[in-house]
């Protein structure tokens, strides 16, 4: 069994904000107990999958390890009980691709899969470049000081996905606020009440209110797109069919919510964290500045470095064995992506940020049938931003201490103050 101090650390939102605390905890686990059970206070026990190869093995066997049977993110016992009461026995407040298994997962993913393939995304390249240039011009006008997270990284991917989804620009601040409330529900700077969470009731009330506001918004959008379909993703969801039936209401709402949250927040985190890493590593910044062909490898390294999705949970559908450990049917498992992406058996000097790292087979997008649907869009947005920004960015340094969000599910920098010179 994992020592209690480590078990408490790997669930602690403040440890993820600290960074080093959670990195140290996972490094100890990879070395001493790479596949063991944690029993943190207030949570059902779960296996902690820390090694890159084991994460791939679990994700590849998506019939043996299900997403939907138990909560897909770390959820305290008390919150889980209340969610099941509210949702008629289901452990999920929403039902997106993340909470589905086959046959539903395949059917619902197919609805938008081709839209997210690289050949379809090519048609967006020119427009995304225009958006990126707009943000870079704005950054140039700021006079050499900005908070790169708040002024650029949060806003650029938000604008792209909202345009793709069909949300008007005037509603983008609301979408950003709701996203940060959802993913930053444990962070007193970002959650709905802007306060420390007192108990399970308070946590659930806040998240429930945020989800409710999203649903109200997207109900109206569904009606609009059914009446007047447009060339946007909302119209695909609103008018999509599974078999010969429209999408279920909860499933449609969840599709919008995942697009409107994960569709930008993860890219924002990676963009902000990528620039933070360059500011902290002037040698790597110089290397990248002198060779634009390194942008793709820098991009992958920033994704590995930040790993914005910190975990997903799976549960076993049958008794099985891994690492000589007996896993019982129903056992809960935490796939730790930051740990897999610092695995010393896969990455040489994993705690070093290298813009030319190769190979770089990180697991930040997951693996297997549930691999991130929006990975090509996220990569394209970041590639375009760096292609446009790096040639204009002549000098860069931190102008204060960056801060990360307090969260154990999806998180990254919430503030990256920089000073810079650009033309």
């Amino acid at each position: 069994m994992i020592p209690q101090e480590i078990a408490q650390t790997i669930i602690d939102p403040k440890a993820y904000a600290d960074g080093a605390r959670v990195d140290d905890a996972f490094a100890r686990l990879r070395k001493d107990m790479p596949f063991a059970q944690a029993h943190p206070e207030g949570f059902d026990p779960f296996w902690v999958v820390t090694k890159h190869a084991d994460i791939l093995a679990v994700e590849r066997q998506n019939e043996l390890f299900h997403n939907g049977d138990r909560a897909t993110t770390l959820t305290p016992i008390e919150v889980d009980r209340k969610v099941r009461e509210m949702m008629g026995g289901s452990p999920h407040l929403v039902r997106s691709l993340v909470q589905m298994d086959n046959p539903d997962h395949f059917a619902y993913r197919k609805l938008t899969q081709s839209w997210f393939m690289p050949q379809n995304l090519k048609k967006l390249e020119a427009r995304i470049r225009e958006i990126a240039k707009g943000f870079i011009d704005r950054m140039a006008d700021m006079g050499g000081n900005c908070d790169f997270a708040r002024d650029v990284a949060f806003l650029y991917p938000l604008h792209v996905i909202m345009e793709v989804l069909g949300v008007p620009e005037s509603d983008e601040p609301r979408m950003l606020k709701l996203t940060q409330e959802l993913f930053g529900s444990a962070d007193p700077d970002l959650n709905r009440n802007r306060a420390e969470i007192a108990d399970a009731d308070a946590a659930l009330a806040q998240i429930g209110a945020t989800v409710g506001e999203f649903i109200e918004y997207f109900n109206a959008m569904t009606e609009d797109r059914r009446a007047c379909p447009r060339d946007d993703l909302a119209s695909v969801i609103a008018n999509g069919q599974i078999g010969d039936q429209p999408l279920g209401h909860l499933e449609a709402m969840s599709y919008y919510i995942i697009a409107a949250t994960a569709g930008h927040d993860t890219t924002s985190n990676t963009t902000a964290g990528g620039l933070w890493a360059l500011a902290e590593n002037p040698g790597e910044f110089a290397k990248l500045k002198s060779d634009a062909s390194l942008i793709p490898s820098y991009l992958e390294e920033s994704i590995r470095w930040v790993t914005p999705v910190k975990h997903f949970m799976r549960s076993a559908t049958a008794d099985t064995e891994m690492h000589g450990q007996k896993i019982a049917k129903g056992d809960w498992m935490m796939l730790s992506y930051p740990s897999g992406n610092r695995d010393e058996d896969v990455f040489e000097d994993p705690f070093a940020f290298r813009v030319d790292r190769s190979p770089n087979k990180h697991v930040a997008f997951g693996y297997g049938a549930h691999v991130c649907l929006g990975q090509h869009l996220g990569r394209m947005e970041m590639r375009i931003l760096w292609e446009e920004l790096l040639p204009r960015l002549e000098a860069l340094e931190l102008a204060g201490a960056p801060k990360r969000m307090e969260a154990n599910f999806v998180c990254g920098p919430k503030s990256v103050p920089i000073s810079y010179r650009m033309h």
Binding site: L56, E59, R60, Q113, F116, M117, P118, Q119, P359, K361, Y367, G368, A369, V371, Q375, H376
Partner: protein, 61 residues
């Protein structure tokens, strides 16, 4: 028809979008440039997401 007379083809993983180009092969995975799709073993899986070879489709790029 021999390889010299048949154009190289590309195949795409329908889960993650990974593209296998016969002309380029996958030298990092031990598949030489010029390896035809039919010559890749049946138990081969997508290097990006682990999807089986059977779930790839031929595409034009």
């Amino acid at each position: 028809m021999s390889d010299r007379k048949t154009a190289w083809r590309t195949w795409q993983c329908m889960t993650c979008g990974f593209i296998y180009d016969e002309a380029e092969g996958l030298p990092d995975e031990g598949i030489e440039p010029g390896t035809r799709w039919e010559d890749i073993p049946g138990d081969w899986i997508c290097p990006l997401c682990g999807t089986p070879k059977g779930d790839f489709e031929m595409i034009e790029i």
